[in-house]
Symmetry: C2
């Protein structure tokens, strides 16, 4: 029986520690092909490159693994991988990450890691984004690996819900072992933006965006709760953004005739 | 009674024809403030600028309207508008567009126009993205204006469903008048990517991304059907991407214990 074909992408770039861990873990499970950005793409959301050209360059950064670095966004990587690298071959699984930093809650919208996974889901492939909720420069990924493999193996063994990609987040490494996995909903939270205003050497103002994460969610069935309580959070994410429940309110209450 | 405060953004940039039409329409309804990108940002999805600086520059492009151009993405524009331009004032409505091109169906994920509206919704403000389904360079926006005003007025008069931004698309101008407004769901469709491979003057390969829109949806309750049949489509879009219906399948069928 041939090994499953696993496409690996990320948003921190092909040289990031997180993708190295993911490639090594996936090599234990299947045949790995990597197409990842040639530079960090954090915060790119579901951006695609439509007004500019794209480069795709082979690299030997992972011994024995077919690897390309791409000048575009994470979503571009999946599109180019499908069209130009894999061609007729279809991946059995697409994994993205392991992102260096949290993609829980509302961050899924801004996440390049998840945009690669969601692009994979749009194409109809089982797709998972993995993120470690630790922004420290020396973040330890070691406690995540067994769970990464478990979830990837389960995604190969079971049907993925239709129109869904999984958003998997890991708690930072703590003294206590991870308690297990929780299937969650996205917590109700947001980034409270802050802008640091500075003056450049020519006297013109500029800004650095910063932000504080504010969690409004009092529930215990969401990803923020899971991470805070040392569980792995798994949120099934859909690319149908329709608020189906809101359709009747608009039809009933709004006067939409000219 | 004071006029409503309307924040206008877009993704085609502050000099695009679509935003000029939108500003003029909103001036008939309220006090208008514009914060829009200084260059085209199509396809930027929900990208934000986190590894780079941002500029915000006042411009007199719209006589009598406080207008800033921003070096960042559409989502950055909303964040900077809230924090630095409006400060303590809260917009009664945020409108984005009128985009030059369709944002129906799956395009909502890639759309900078809709990312501005969704960012507004995350902040709790009634928010609408407007797009014209006509990519022609001389696209005619004239048939959209009365509907833009009607929908904006209804958004000021009625509560917006919680956690929702409206994705409004207009059919291209046809001989027949627009038939009316349909509240819709996002059609099931995707972009079938195509890459045009070329060689640069130094002999290195590069790619242009192109794509064909493929509509799989046989229903008549979706935005693609509405546009094809000369209706304005209004899709309520949510930023909770959780596939709530998929949680039980994952809990029941997947073996997620180490």
């Amino acid at each position: 029986m041939s090994k499953p074909l696993i496409l690996v992408a990320n948003d921190d770039g092909v040289t990031a520690p997180g993708i190295r861990h993911l490639v090594e873990a996936m090599q234990e499970i299947g045949e790995v092909v990597v197409v990842a950005p040639d530079s960090p793409q954090s915060g790119m959301g579901h951006a695609i490159t439509i007004g500019n050209t794209l480069r795709l360059t082979k690299t030997d950064i992972f011994p024995g693994v077919t690897t390309y670095k791409c000048s575009g966004t994470p979503a571009d990587c999946i599109k180019l991988a499908k069209h130009h690298v894999l061609k007729e071959r279809k991946p059995d699984l697409i994994v993205s990450g392991i992102n260096h930093g949290s993609n829980t809650s509302i961050s899924v919208l801004y996440s390049g890691t998840m945009s690669a996974a969601i692009e994979g889901a749009i194409e109809g492939f089982p797709s998972i984004g993995f993120s470690l909720c630790d922004f420290a420069s020396d973040a330890d990924f070691s406690h995540t690996i067994d769970y990464v493999k478990l979830i990837a193996q389960q995604a190969l063994a079971n049907p993925m819900p239709k129109g869904v990609a999984l958003n998997v987040n890991f708690p930072p490494k703590r003294n206590e072992r991870i308690k297990g996995i929780k299937i969650c909903r996205q917590a109700r939270a947001k980034w409270q933006e802050q802008f640091d205003q500075r003056v450049d050497p020519t006297g013109r103002k500029y800004f650095w965006m910063a932000g504080n994460f504010v969690n409004f969610d009092k529930g215990e069935d969401n990803d923020e709760w899971a991470i805070a309580n040392n569980y792995v959070s798994v949120v099934p994410c859909q690319f149908d953004m329709t608020a189906h429940h809101a359709i009747s309110q608009l039809n009933d209450d709004w006067e939409l005739k000219l």
